[in-house]
């Protein structure tokens, strides 16, 4: 039996603006193995959340093309009734904002019991309560019995995020998608939640897709990393390789813009992330932001190239890419300041 849990093949997700469809996720192909953490990194607008929502099929109005195979069942074409059985059971999601993901009118216990009720009818009322308290315990909430009766507003942000994780893992999912699970939290709480996700991974043996814009979080959590830009994956590699030997100009620029020891001026990526309507549809999508790289360095139709085993990069422009000299760059930018 193969180790493959999730296979995404040529997935495109398009949204309608006016009369036309625009692809927010464009031809993404990915695999996730059992027991693996795949990090997806990118800035806002890169399509990483749209990708996660497509895998969960949470978009209501988007046009989705391609295949999303979870244990060989295609989620994209699956009838709604079957999808309801899988969602929350075999695959589950941890949402970004713990303040809005919980129902403010229902006690915590009820919200956990709901998932249990929907997917495991055999469990009686007593059984559900027992399991819910167990889950609260598992995610490290002190006084689980008491929290069971409480309402979301009585809990802190970190505690609420734990509740959301408890709901997500209630039915031992095989696939867990965490969409910016710690972005709304303080650093110390973030560290606790990441520790928790890591511990749970050992316990429930799920494959995890971790979506984040924080390169530090990826470096700590992921086994493999996919970097997204403008709806496409531009680089995939093991986490060690990606940080040691990043290839794609976008990955390298991104890594250079994070403040690290002994760096005076941070690297700035020229221009802005193009909006959905203005995505370049032809050629290398990052080309406009690295104008100093010669146009001939880009492929006409950039495809993924396997540079080393398991290390894929889009377009050939990385071979000619360099981070321009800080001073030169600065001179260009500061025109008019003096």
């Amino acid at each position: 039996m193969s180790n493959e849990l999730l296979k995404i093949k040529n997935l495109s997700t398009s949204f309608r603006i006016g009369d036309e469809y625009y692809a927010a996720v464009d031809d993404v192909t990915l695999t996730l193995n059992k027991n693996e953490v795949l990090g997806i990194v990118g800035e806002s607008g890169s399509g990483k959340s749209a990708l996660a929502f497509s895998v969960m099929r949470l978009h209501t109005k988007a046009k989705i093309e391609g295949e999303v195979l979870l244990n060989n069942q295609d989620i994209v074409t699956m009838p709604k009734s079957k999808l309801d059985k899988i969602r929350g059971d075999e695959m589950a999601m941890i949402f970004q904002d713990p303040l809005t993901a919980l129902n403010p009118l229902t006690p915590i216990g009820g919200q956990i019991e709901e998932t249990l009720f929907l997917h495991n009818r055999k469990l009686g009322q007593q059984g559900r309560k027992k399991r819910a308290v167990e889950l609260l315990d598992l995610v490290g909430i002190p006084n689980a019995e008491r929290v069971f009766e409480q309402f979301p507003h009585e809990l802190s942000g970190g505690m609420r995020q734990r509740v959301i994780i408890a709901i997500a893992i209630a039915n031992d999912p095989k696939l867990l998608i965490a969409d910016e699970p710690t972005t709304a939290l303080d650093v110390t709480i973030q560290a606790q939640i990441l520790d928790l996700i890591r511990e749970l991974k050992e316990k429930i043996h799920a494959g995890i897709i971790l979506i984040t814009h924080d390169l530090g979080v990826v470096a700590e959590m992921a086994d493999r990393v996919a970097v997204m830009y403008a709806g496409q994956i531009v680089e995939i590699a093991s986490v060690e390789k990606l940080f040691e030997n990043p290839l794609h100009p976008y990955t390298r620029s991104l890594l250079n813009s994070v403040p690290v020891e002994g760096q005076d001026t941070l690297h700035v990526i020229q221009g802005v992330v193009p909006s959905l309507k203005n995505l370049p549809r032809e050629g290398c999508r990052f080309a406009a932001r690295i104008p100093w790289v010669d146009a001939s360095a880009h492929e006409e139709n950039p495809t993924m190239h396997e540079v080393e085993s398991g290390h894929f990069v889009r377009c050939t422009c990385h071979e000619h890419f360099y981070i321009p000299d800080q001073n030169e760059e600065k001179g260009e930018q500061s025109n008019g300041i003096s």
Binding site: E43, S44, G157, D186, V187, T188, I189, Q190, A191, L194, D195, H213, D214, L215, G216, V217, A219, E220, A222, V239, E240, F243, S253, L254, L255, S257, V258, P259, V260, Q263, T265, L266, H267, V268, I269, V272, V273, Q333, S334, G336, I337, S338
Partner: protein, 310 residues
């Protein structure tokens, strides 16, 4: 004479309750904070949400009422309401956290940036427009865009328009309350570089309020760590990162994700150790109410909140 001196600043918010809606208790948002700033340097104020770091900044500039304590700006007490402190209002400006909500969506860029000028300087329309264009030029926003509205700009550009407004009156001190936390990393880099550049140009002093230790480390000369309304540690960037004394500081530093995946295991171990130490020695570092002690000097630049005898 210090440039800005804050003495035993307290900001309490009343909690109302009971039938008559009387004040039953106070939330001590800022509970006895003292510090001094020198001109031309960058001071970091770090803490988790609810630690009182933003309230401190807002109290200095006058957006929150001070319960007790003094704020001396160039020797003058600006908490004294009777004194005319128009100059102070001009000399201290603020950059807000969220560039999406700190610019009035119904105003044009011209009106946004010119607002402080209209309050303090009598300029003709032409002069005003010229000044606004100069300011936009400084922040690298095209001077042609003075008739645009905020929604036409990206997050980074908006934050720079906010900066243009803040520097319009040539202030001496800028209080930056989480100026980059709403921005993507590449845009964050742009705004940070830029803040450093104009600091040199205009000899600005920054009070940089942030929860992100990585950014603070990059930007600041001096760092203060705040917890539950009090300072737990204060020192040069080197003191704080290389020789943290307070357990809370250590915990914050340990929580920063390491960007090198090879250090992963080491970082986990380190974090576990610090968490254990935090649990075990909590009572040595905090009083019976869970608050920090008063600051004790341990070197010329470095102060730590420790119990009296040290």
């Amino acid at each position: 004479m210090a440039f800005l001196e804050v003495k035993d600043l307290q900001v309490y918010f009343p909690i109302k309750g009971g039938i008559l809606n009387r004040t039953v208790e106070y939330t001590r948002a800022v509970d006895g904070v003292s510090f001094e700033l020198e001109q031309g340097k960058t001071y970091g104020l770090v803490g988790e949400s609810g630690s009182g770091k933003s309230t401190t900044g807002r109290a200095i500039i006058g957006l929150e009422d001070i319960t007790s304590g003094q704020v001396l700006f160039e020797g003058k007490d600006i908490t004294d309401k009777k004194a005319k402190n128009k100059n102070f209002r001009k000399d201290v400006q603020m950059i807000f956290q969220d560039p999406y909500s700190s610019l009035n969506p119904r105003k044009r860029v011209l009106d946004i940036v010119a607002e402080p000028l209209r309050n303090y300087e009598k300029l003709s329309k032409q002069e005003e427009r010229k000044r606004v264009q100069e300011l936009l030029d400084i922040v690298n926003v095209s001077p042609d865009s003075i008739f645009k509205y905020p929604h036409e700009f990206s997050g980074g550009q908006r934050q720079r328009i906010g900066v243009a407004r803040a520097i319009a009156l040539k202030p001496k001190l800028i209080i930056a309350d989480e100026p980059v936390s709403a921005l993507d990393v590449s845009v964050q880099a742009q705004v940070l570089n830029f803040l450093q550049e104009i600091q040199k140009e205009l000899n600005l002093t920054y009070l940089f309020i942030s929860h992100d230790l990585g950014v603070v480390k990059h930007m600041c000369d001096n760092i203060s760590i705040m917890y539950k309304g009090r300072y737990v540690e204060q020192g040069s960037t080197k003191d704080i990162f290389e020789n943290p004394q307070h357990i809370y500081t250590k915990r914050l530093i340990a929580a920063i994700p390491d960007i090198d995946p090879r250090n992963r295991e080491k970082q986990f171990e380190f974090r576990k150790e610090v968490t254990k130490e935090y649990r075990e020695s909590f009572n040595n570092y905090f009083d019976s109410n869970g608050l920090a002690f008063g600051l004790q000097s341990i070197s010329d630049t470095h102060k730590v909140a420790l119990p009296e005898k040290g």
